[in-house]
């Protein structure tokens, strides 16, 4: 009981001093609580399905931000990690009968190895050359998928994987819980010493090398970490949809993830997650809303594109950094962020403008 009391007091202290002092952190807390409490109010099959897919794609989008946003390795073929992990997971499940809690981590290991395979030839490339090379990989693999239909299932893919869990609500808790945990892990990576080096590589790789840091190692690490997280998303997707097919390698999916990340705000981790949570359900809402009007459902991509373009026109850094800058101000002296209504800094007591 005594130990529980200590942990409880510590949690309350962290909540009061670290979380409840900043609007953005309060928003994250409210978001997580709402996400966890949602099945208490509705267990609508379709609604939960949309949110499960949203959580899976949120992990995927954040993993893109880790590689392309933070490390500056512009990846236009991120679906490769997702697709490879989905296939690996499916093969392990179907051929060896491994349950999801084995096949998904092993699928993510497939994502890591894919990260190495892509990362090594891309080490010397930068900018548009890197982007185009990464774009080529999933296209090559799609060709391979069609070339060996006995293993990959060809056009139809591999169907009939075992279910993620026994029920839709459990599926929901697993995916949303993993999204929160992995999102936090990615954010911690970017906030660590490794994160500083990844940041610096994006800014000026040559200067990092002349600082004595082996940039090759760190770039490969970024590819592997991103491959791992995207791989978890791919494995979850395969088990949830009970299918791994060539659609997981599509160019469209690679571009979709860039749109989500850029819309939400790159180089933040939480920005791409928020981007998916806004844009993915929005597409579903548009589909349902426009369904009753003949000819209009095809317009949803147009509306979607217009919305994204308008947002980026007025918020070039993405939606979430824009909102964050409205509700929080940086202390001119100690650079700590404060709620917009504070007159003095919460750490150094400097006057806030």
């Amino acid at each position: 009981m005594g130990l529980l009391g200590v942990y409880f007091r510590r949690t309350v202290t962290i909540l009061r001093s670290e979380v409840l002092v900043l609007p953005s952190r309060i928003a994250v807390l409210v978001f997580i609580v709402a996400l966890m409490a949602l099945p208490l109010f509705t267990q609508d099959y379709y609604f939960l399905r949309v949110l499960i897919l949203t959580s899976i794609f949120a992990i995927f989008a954040a993993s893109w931000d880790l590689l392309s946003g933070f490390t500056g390795q512009m990846n236009f073929g991120h679906a490769l990690f997702f697709g490879v992990a989905a296939y690996v997971t499916a093969l392990l499940n179907l051929k060896l009968g491994l349950p999801p809690y084995f096949s998904i981590p092993l699928g993510a290991v497939g994502g890591v190895l894919t990260g190495l395979v892509v990362g090594i030839p891309c080490l010397r490339l930068k900018g548009s050359y890197l982007a185009l090379t990464t774009l080529a990989f999933p296209i090559i693999l799609t060709g391979l998928v069609f070339a060996i239909p006995d293993v990959t299932g060809g056009e139809l893919g591999l169907a009939g994987l075992s279910r993620l869990t026994g029920s839709r609500v459990m599926d929901y808790y697993l995916t949303s819980g993993l999204m929160v945990i992995l999102g936090f892990a990615m954010w911690k990576i970017t906030d660590s010493k490794t994160g500083i080096i990844l940041h610096a590589i994006r800014e000026d790789e040559l200067a990092v090398r002349t600082s004595g840091v082996n940039t090759t190692r760190y770039k490969l690490l970024a590819f592997c970490m991103s491959g791992f997280f995207a791989g978890v998303a791919g494995g979850l997707y395969a088990h949830f949809m009970r299918l791994a097919g060539p659609s997981g390698l599509e160019v469209g999916l690679s571009f979709q993830v860039i749109i989500w990340a850029v819309f939400g705000g790159m180089v933040t981790i939480y920005g791409p997650i928020a981007g998916v949570f806004i844009l993915y359900p929005l597409m579903e809402v548009l589909r349902v809303a426009l369904d009753s009007f003949p000819g209009l459902p095809e317009m949803r991509m147009f509306i979607f594109a217009a919305l994204v373009l308008l947002t980026l026109l007025f918020m070039p850094e993405g939606l979430i950094p824009w909102v964050r800058d409205k509700v929080e101000i940086e202390c001119p002296r100690c650079k700590v962020r404060n709620a917009f209504n504070r007159k003095r800094c919460r750490v150094c007591d400097a006057v806030l403008d």
């Binding site: 500083i196 800014e203 000026d204 040559l206 600082s211 004595g212």
Partner: protein
């Protein structure tokens, strides 16, 4: 005979049809401060970049403390004890100044030599303190003035605790007062000692500079390059009186 500290032999580098360094050979001792001067395009920066591993030579070799470092990776060379600064400063603009220096502090050499330092930030702060910009540690590097960026370059190089420091125009773009301050910092660094949690080995230095009056005060020896060739090598007094150097670079009159 003892091995020279740094030995460059027959170093040759072409860029297309242009010869940047032409069979350059020289050696320097552990405690020397060497000035590298010459007209623009003489091959000074190329020579320094060849030593620091940023460029690969077409021919020739570089030996540091008896070890061949000719085709080693830049980071391996830094971790062996050779640090360099850039003529055109290359800060990580969107990172705070302290994070700029922390990258150097996270190199294997700096981590190994400072393993008793609990926090990397503390060591980075001492490097900034040495360079005289610790009061701006939390500002973004993009907000720094030209002079402070030069100081940041020096802080980044010093943070790896080098034994040989290659400075490419450390006084470039600085006001006379800032130049004096920088010259004092360099002299102090060469003396060696402890600056907080940072240890200076009293590195040997190769300094490229056009401000000759200040350079002459801190160097023991000067090498003059012209069109990729060494045209003179001697003490500052010998160099200013060398007719070939006067014709190619210095001209007549006071320095």
């Amino acid at each position: 005979m003892a091995q020279p500290f740094l030995e460059v032999s027959g170093l040759h580098k072409d860029f297309g049809g242009l010869t940047a360094t032409n069979n350059v050979s020289f050696a320097m001792g552990r405690d020397e401060v060497l000035g590298l001067i010459g007209p623009n395009g003489a091959g000074k920066t190329t020579l320094v970049r060849l030593i620091s591993g940023i460029l690969r030579p077409d021919r020739g070799s570089i030996r540091f403390k008896g070890k061949n470092i000719t085709r080693k990776k830049t980071w391996d060379i830094v971790n062996m004890g050779i640090a360099s600064t850039f003529q055109n400063m290359r800060p990580f603009r969107r990172l705070p100044i302290i994070a700029n220096v922390m990258v150097s502090c996270l190199s294997p050499r700096a981590m190994k030599r400072g393993e008793w330092v609990k926090k990397v930030e503390a060591k980075a702060m001492d490097a900034l303190e040495f360079a005289g910009i610790s009061d701006m540690a939390l500002e973004k590097a993009s907000t720094l003035s030209q002079g402070d960026l030069k100081r940041l370059e020096v802080a980044r190089a010093v943070a790896t605790e080098p034994e040989l420091l290659l400075l490419d125009e450390p006084f470039g773009g600085l006001s006379p007062a800032e130049t004096d301050l920088m010259a004092k910092s360099i002299a102090r660094l060469h003396k060696g000692g402890r600056f907080g949690r940072l240890h200076s080995e009293g590195p040997a230095m190769i300094i490229i500079e056009h401000k000759l009056a200040q350079l002459m005060k801190i160097v023991d020896r000067i090498i003059v390059l012209d069109f990729g060739n060494i045209i003179a090598d001697g003490t500052p007094e010998q160099i200013v009186e060398n007719p070939e150097v006067i014709e190619a670079y210095l001209g007549e009159g006071e320095i």
